[in-house]
């Protein structure tokens, strides 16, 4: 038996274990170095690989929770918004501080009225909150009778929001959630409505001490400050 054949047979025995991820790191590294120079091993690896690729397909399918999809999409949209140059966002200069943007917001009559109404709602809506939804969590419902209804489930500083009655938006627009504390509005997650008018959104931060969660329609990629009137508000008073 020539040396090359002996070498090949020695390494060949490891190919299945390698595909199964069962070799120790040093062994895997040595095998990969051999494969670089051994066409027969490469061919065998190509032949065997589909047998390992089907293993995950042998698992009975389970339906992932819809909140998982929403959380992922919230994260990726937040990444895109963060990477987008601030100057490219419509409606405000890149270097404008948050307080000035907020003052600018309140100079717009329609928005000012809307937010004042919401602040009043938040102030008088004590007792509307319902306790429940699991250990350490509180559930709050939107207070208006409009077509869009929302429920926020808060746990600690974060929470999730479920909405109904939403319309599907064109691709150039997106729903954006905001956390209101006093006169301060902080942007939260971006989300789309499903065809049935429902949506779920994560509110990952800053719910402790917040007065309300609002939702507006914004340009795709989201905004640093609201550019339209809120379509729904959920007071967080308890």
């Amino acid at each position: 038996m020539v040396r090359g054949e002996r070498d090949h047979r020695r390494w060949r025995a490891d190919l299945a274990a390698h595909l199964l991820g069962a070799l120790e790191p040093a062994e895997a590294e040595a095998l990969e170095a051999h494969i670089e120079s051994c066409e027969r091993c490469r061919e065998e690896l190509r032949w065997l690989r589909p047998a390992v690729d089907v293993l995950p397909e042998s698992v009975p399918p389970l339906e992932p929770p819809p909140q998982l999809r929403e959380r992922l999409l919230t994260e990726v949209r937040a990444d895109v918004a963060a990477e987008r140059p601030a100057a490219a966002r419509p409606g405000r200069p890149a270097s404008m501080p948050f307080g000035a943007r907020l003052r600018g917001l309140f100079r717009r009559p329609v928005l000012a009225i809307g937010l004042t109404v919401i602040a009043l709602i938040a102030a008088v809506a004590g007792g509307y909150a319902l306790r429940g939804g699991g250990q350490g969590s509180s559930t709050f419902h939107s207070s208006s009778a409009g077509p869009v209804q929302a429920t926020v489930i808060r746990k600690g500083d974060s929470g999730t929001m479920e909405l109904t009655g939403l319309r599907e938006l064109p691709s150039s627009r997106v729903y954006e959630a905001w956390v209101q504390q006093g006169h301060r509005l902080r942007p939260s997650s971006l989300f789309d409505a499903r065809r049935n008018g429902r949506a779920s959104a994560a509110i990952p931060h800053r719910l402790s001490g917040a007065d309300a969660v609002l939702v507006t329609v914004e340009p795709d990629g989201g905004s640093g400050q609201p550019t339209s009137k809120p379509i729904v508000a959920v007071p967080l008073s308890s």
Partner: protein, 177 residues
């Protein structure tokens, strides 16, 4: 896939819709609980998104590549927990049967049937071969750990892996499932 690499959220949503179910199911099979499976699936998809989706066509289909990432994340999660060894023979079918039939879409029903056929193909392997394959792939054990666990020579473990994988490969070549 190209669009995912170009950071297009809509393309990412389509990508998730295609492979998220299989990813979650695989993660659940490995870590054994729904909360852990959610975390693993989320970590895996975000790593794909944030790494710019370095998909290498030579390593197989997009789906296999994705599920390989999920599998690695799930095994890492198991090791981080450093808890009891993963369950090797919990009854996936029984867990699935507990769900009402109308929870399944047509596509899921087909997937389920396909999974069942593959499961049958795996079940037809001699148990000593399927055991080492499951310990390695779903349990994340190395061949030397398996040899110690089953008190058998390392060469025997490698040989059984090889025989089992070759049999599955032949069944695929013959059109099963």
């Amino acid at each position: 896939m190209l669009a995912v690499g170009e950071k297009d959220p809509e393309a990412f949503a389509v990508f998730y819709d295609r492979h998220g179910g299989a990813a979650y199911s695989l993660a659940y099979r490995i870590v054994g609980d729904r909360s852990g499976a959610e975390d693993v699936t989320q970590e895996a998809f975000l790593s794909i998104w944030r790494s710019g989706a370095r998909y290498d066509r030579a390593r197989g289909s997009v789906r296999s590549w994705t599920l390989g990432i999920v599998r690695n994340r799930a095994i890492d999660s198991l090791r981080r927990r450093a808890g009891p060894a993963p369950k090797l023979d919990f009854d996936d079918e029984a867990a699935l049967e507990q769900r009402p039939a109308d929870d399944l879409t047509d596509e899921q029903a087909l997937q389920r049937e396909s999974a069942r056929q593959l499961r049958t193909a795996l079940d037809e392997l001699p148990s000593e071969q399927s055991k080492v394959i499951e310990l390695a792939y779903f349990g994340g054990f190395s061949h030397s750990e398996i040899a110690e666990m089953l008190s058998m020579p390392l060469g025997t473990v490698k040989g059984r892996m090889r025989l089992g994988i070759e049999k599955i490969r032949m069944q695929i070549a013959e059109g099963v499932p």
